[in-house]
Structure formats: C-alpha cells, structure tokens
Symmetry: C2
Subunit: 333 residues, 2 copies
C-alpha cells in the first residue's frame, strides 16, 4: 500500500456513469445497479436428480465398494453440497464488488434488445475457485492417510489449480496479451509434472501389437511432455468454447459428471487398491468442482445474470487436467 | 466469458478522466499516463553488496558446508538473480496495465505538492508474486531428492503462498470487507499445517525447568494452533506497517536478509542432516523472495513510483510464515 489514498472503486464507477447520465448522485448510482436475477434453482435441482440417482446407486448398491472409501466419498459429497450453497450465496455479493470495479460485459448475442444493454458482472469464477480451494483444503483432514505420496500429489494439485485461478483472475482484471497467456499456464502445470510419480508407459492397442512388436511401450520424458501439453490444452479448450450463455459451465458440468461416473465404475470394477486410490483422488477433486460449478450454472444459464470470466474457464480446465493426470487415467486407454 | 463484449478497461479509464478534463481524446489520454520513474539501481546495488559479501563469505569460506548443498543454494541464488532482472523489467509493463484498470493511488504524504497529484500504480506485488512462484516451481527440478516429505512440504508451501497471493490481489481489486479479510488467510494457512510433519514440542528455558518439572514439553494440537495463528499474524504484520514509501518492501528485505544469514549460520554450525535440510528449505524460498522484493524496492523506494498493494504484503507475510513453520525454526528457541 504505502502511504496512499486508494482510488475508490465506487468513485470510479460513479465517474464512469456520470459520463452517460449526469444527473445521478453517488448514492443513487449505488442503488442503480440492479440486483442480479435469482438463481434458477429448479433447473439445477432437476439436473442434480438426474445425475445423483445413478451415481449414488452405483456407489452404494451396484458395486461392492469398501465402506472406508464410501465414507470418504460421502464426506466429500457433503462438503461439496455445503460448497454449493456457499457459492450460491456468495455470487450475488461478489457481483456487487466486481460491478463496482467495472468488471462487467454486455451480452452481444442480445444486442438490440433491452437485455443487451444490461451490465452483466464478469469474472464470477473467482467465487467458485475460492470456495473450491477452501473445500479441497478442508477435505485433507478427512483423508489423512500415512501415504505421503497422496499428499504430494494433492498439494501439487492445489498449487497448480490455485496458480491457474490467479492467472485467470489477473487476465480478467488486466487483459493480459495473448503471448503471455500462452506461456503462463505452462508454468502452472509444472508442479503437477513434478509430483507425477506414476508410470510413463502406454498400452499398445491389440491390433497394432504385431506392428510395434511390444504390448507395453515406455515413453519416458515424451509421456511427461504429453501430459504437460494436455494441461495447457485442457485449460484453453474450456476457454475457447465460450460464446453462448452457460456454455463454459455447462460443458464443465457434463464432463465432470461423466468423470465421476467413470471413476465409480473403475473403482467398482477393480481389485487393485492403488488403482482405486487414484480414482478416489479424482473423485475428491471433481465433486467439489461439480457442486460449485452447478451453483455458478444456476446464475449463468440463459438468460445469464453473471459471466464466468477467464477466471472460471482456466480454473475448470486446469482442475480437469489435474484430475486426468494425477488420477492416472492412462490405464483406461 | 460467455457471449459478451467486455467493458474495455481503456474506455473506462478515459471515461473517468473526461470527468475532470473533457478535452482529452482517448489517444491523448493513453499517452497522458507518464511512464514511471526508472528504478533506483544504485541503491539496490549498494544494498546487495552490503548483504552479499558476508553471506557468501559464510557460505563458502567460514563454514565447511557440503558441496552438494552449496551447489543447490548457488543454483537457487542464480535463479533468484534472473528473477530480479525479470521483475525489474516487468514492473513498468505491469504498471501500464494496472493504470488502465484504475488500480492506482495518490501519495497522501505528498499532499499539496505536485507529486501528490500523480497517479501511482497500485498492486505491483502481483509481478513479484508471479515471478516468485515461477522461480519456486522451476527450482524443484534442481532439488529433486527421493525424500517425498520434502516435496509434500514444498508443494504445500507453494499452495499456501499462491492462495495468499490470490486473496491479496482479489482484495486489491475488489476491496474485500475486513471480516472476510480476517477469515480467508486462515484457510490459506491450512495446507501448511496439514503438511507439517515435525515435532510439536518446545524446549523449556533452563531457569524455568525446576518449576515446570520438564525439559521438553509436548504441546500437541496447541502447537499447531500456535503455528496457525503465527501464519495469520505474519501476513497481517507486514500489511499493517504500511504507511511510508518503501516500508513494506523495506522491512521484508531486512527480515529476509536476516533469515538468510541465520539459516547459513545454523547450517554451518550443525551436524544433523535433517536439520540442515530444513534450513536449506528455508533458504530456497527466501532467496527468490529477497531478489524479487529488491526489484520491487528499486521502484518503491522514496519517492515511490509504484505501490505494492495488499497483494505484496499478504504474499510476503505468508512466505515468511511458511519459511518459519516448514523451515522448523522452533529448534532455535
């Protein structure tokens, strides 16, 4: 800070607005920002029901899963549910703050209609990211195994996700140029690779075995390079699909649900404890992601009352990359 | 993002300014932001010399330190030096971006003088933090020991520091209310405590031993509570001292130099490899902190051409808390 009088964000917002409507006083301006529309809870409830029934059926009845693991997943699900409500409560509050800082956008697909002139608060992904990180940190208390390798990976995951969230938010606030955007996610992916202690071999598909001459091929550092590029790819792939109300969050919700079902099926079908642990790791990170994303979705569904910002797209992409890499999804191929 | 036209930060800056001086066009406004004053490199050079001579004398001549450890410290110092130049190069660039977003302050101690009316870019701590994290992540490649406990602590440290940096930046941008400010750093400190695998006992000072009846007292969870509060205290203690040009960075530079000298002396005087490793851990994080802070100091020294923001104070405080806790400084008492 040093000795300084900070440029008041409210004063700036007011100054900006007086440019278009001179008559408003600062106080009336504060009240002039309309509250954002209420969340579409009905939609979210239906979505949840559609997903939760098969998910919990698989978890509790269909497969014989150890009660220890079931308990951990259930605690995580409970935390995630709490995270859903906290996120849903905090988004309208945070909206007021981002609007005061002029972090807003106009919905260009509604141009020409009255809705096209409403200031839509931007970068609400920061709420989702912060709640996610708090949940992920708190959850460590409930899965504190003596296995320090788990903790290495978990902390590396947190560091990577948090760094990506920071970069996304910096990008939203400062409009970082593209050449920087492409370099920085690479650094965020590094803690991941350092912590990756798994195999670097791939299984050759059966029809190709006669040609390659091997059933299992060890790729060594090329595998690490592939993972590194995967992290950068995942991050940008969520970002680049943006364009319609709810699309970024919507695709994340669909992918996260698919990952969860896949994990449960893999855990149920496997007998290898290490393999189960890897998929449980993935569940512990995806459940909070899904829950907090659903809360954001309830505001971002058409017609959007908030925008998610690069903050969310980078964060969600990185979380899914982390889950894929540290959840050791390679066995699946 | 969703379909949106982002509120251009430049347009906002212009709109704000037209309020006071209507004649400026957007282009002239862009040129109107004067470039920040050049860094005070002479001052920094003298400071560095004053510190580096005793430091490297202790490291290479005074004590017999294993060449392995010397090499790691030297690689880290080299990376830190690179970090110094990168930070110094990036601060003027980042200043333009933060000014465009209206992240600036006025120097209230220069009120009434022409300097008191200059917009000073705020929150430049984000550059220091980002460079620090990149250095810390890259350094893992040069100290990849089989000791996974080291990696747990290192990654937890990165996660904590990164989370704190994020919260600091969010605070600078959105002006978070105080009640939230006090809660969130507590969450950032949690990964630290989870990773802390050291003892929780304290040595009773000799004059008190007859009264307590013990030489070593195991505090258990109270020790963890103490560390938790220490992290929150460190973070706020750097922040709360702000008030004069260069004070936040200046105190960090002094404390960091003292920590480095202390570490070298502890490593030199000890024979316990684990103890040496803990102090080396501390050096690996403090060297980049010192180097990047010095780069910021060269701009923040009186008369300040940039302000550091809560971003820097939170980040620096947390880094030193991490170093104290995971460097196992408790042996010192």
């Amino acid at each position: 800070m040093a000795a300084r009088k900070r440029a008041s964000s409210r004063a700036i917002a007011t100054a900006t607005d007086t440019d278009t409507s001179k008559s408003e006083t600062p106080t009336s301006q504060e009240h002039a920002d309309p509250p954002i529309a209420p969340p579409k809870s009905g939609l979210i409830f239906k979505l949840c029901l559609f997903f939760a029934i098969p998910y919990f059926y698989l978890l509790f009845y269909h497969y014989k899963i150890e009660s220890e693991l079931q308990r951990s997943i259930l605690i995580n699900a409970g935390l995630s549910l709490a995270g859903f409500f906290i996120t849903q409560k905090m988004i309208p509050v945070a909206s007021r703050y981002v609007l005061r800082r002029n972090l807003f956008g106009y919905d260009i697909n509604k141009k020409g209609t009255p809705q096209g002139t409403i200031k839509v608060p931007e970068s609400l992904g920061i709420v989702v990211g912060a709640v996610f990180l708090v949940l992920a940190i708190l959850f460590q208390y409930f899965n504190f195994t003596a296995d320090s390798n788990w903790l290495v990976e978990y902390n590396a995951a947190l560091a990577s996700i948090c760094f990506m969230l920071l970069l996304g938010f910096v990008d939203d606030v400062l409009d970082v140029p593209w050449r920087v955007k492409l370099i920085l996610p690479s650094f965020a992916a590094l803690p991941l690779l350092m912590a990756y202690a798994g195999h670097t071999s791939i299984i050759i598909p059966k029809p190709l075995v006669p040609y390659v001459g091997l059933e299992i091929l060890d790729l060594g550092w090329i595998y690490k390079l592939y993972m590194f590029l995967l992290a950068v790819f995942c991050t940008n792939s969520i970002n680049i699909h943006a364009g319609l109300n709810g699309l970024e969050v919507g695709q994340t919700v669909v992918i996260a649900s698919a990952i969860l079902l896949h994990n449960i099926m893999q855990i149920g079908a496997s007998l290898d404890p290490e393999y189960k642990q890897a998929h449980a790791f993935s569940i512990y990170l995806v459940q909070p992601l899904l829950a907090t994303s659903l809360a954001l979705f309830s505001y971002n569904w058409y017609p959007s009352s908030v925008f998610v910002g690069d903050t969310y797209t980078y964060f969600a992409g990185m979380t899914m990359a982390v889950v894929g890499i540290l959840g050791h999804f390679r066995y699946v191929c």
